[in-house]
Amino acid sequence: MKLYFKYDRMVACNTLVGEQLNKLGLSYELVGPVEVEIKDPVTEDKLKELNTALNRYGIEIVENQKSVLVQKIKDTITEVVYSDGELPVSKISAYLADKLKYNYGYLSNLFSDVTYTSIENFTILQKIERAKQLITTDDLTFTEIAWRLNYSSVAHFSTQFKNATGLTPSAFQRIISKRQNTLPPDK
């Protein structure tokens, strides 16, 4: 039988991190969504061990400040996009600057340097990803999805989707559903 599931990445990650820290016998405190304060002193080796263990789950210990900030930018954007219209998305730039307490220009440059892609592109990417998720799991019309993701019209949504992925939303939907019918169940 086929199983579909949604997951809360935050919870999953934090649980995993917690488990690994416990394994290594480190006491810790969850300070933020991706921030952990380790009470005990940690050696370089232990850190490496922890990192290796976490890598198996696709979790990385972010090395430096810049990366931290970039991650924060990413997370903020992700949060906004996945809020399905709860949080205002009209001026992401203003929102980011405001939330992270940095000048947007600085944030923008930093982001591009580290990730080789712009904040705008990343935002669009996230929105499109969310759209893809909604298309494949929920029974929403494209119009509804467009509204949720704060597009001014379904045409605008279609345009951006096509520009980002090269496929129209309906073509995408068609392909995914055909895939689910033809690929073997263990995929």
Partner: protein
Amino acid sequence: MFIILADDDEDDRQFFKDAFNEIKIKTMVHVVNDGAALMNYLTKENSQLPHLLFLDLNMPLKNGMECLKEIKSIERLKDISIAIYSTSASEEDIEETFVKGANVYIKKPDDFITLKKILSKVISVNLQYHTSGLDRDNFLLSI
């Protein structure tokens, strides 16, 4: 980023390597000449798997679609991001390759600058999929 390209055309291979050299993102590119060589490499134990695999459709011995099918059926290989790289095809055929498991479809461009742009975009998107926890099953890009 470790990238493998399989293409039987010498000029295309050269274009590819040159383009990658001129892109900002640091990449390591390995080229093979045909499908058989590709599968040989991939199926070797402990071979380093690429982050992204570019497959030309028209290759002798084993063409791109056959390789795609094979890769998708091998446990160790099926999660590799695959970009089909080909001369123009109809919308139907493009959709077909996606259905068969490709993540990216690239129509071979007519000029070098466009090629660089395309590759750049593909790499960067692929990077996002690796680093930002995006759902790889939804990774579909047609350029």
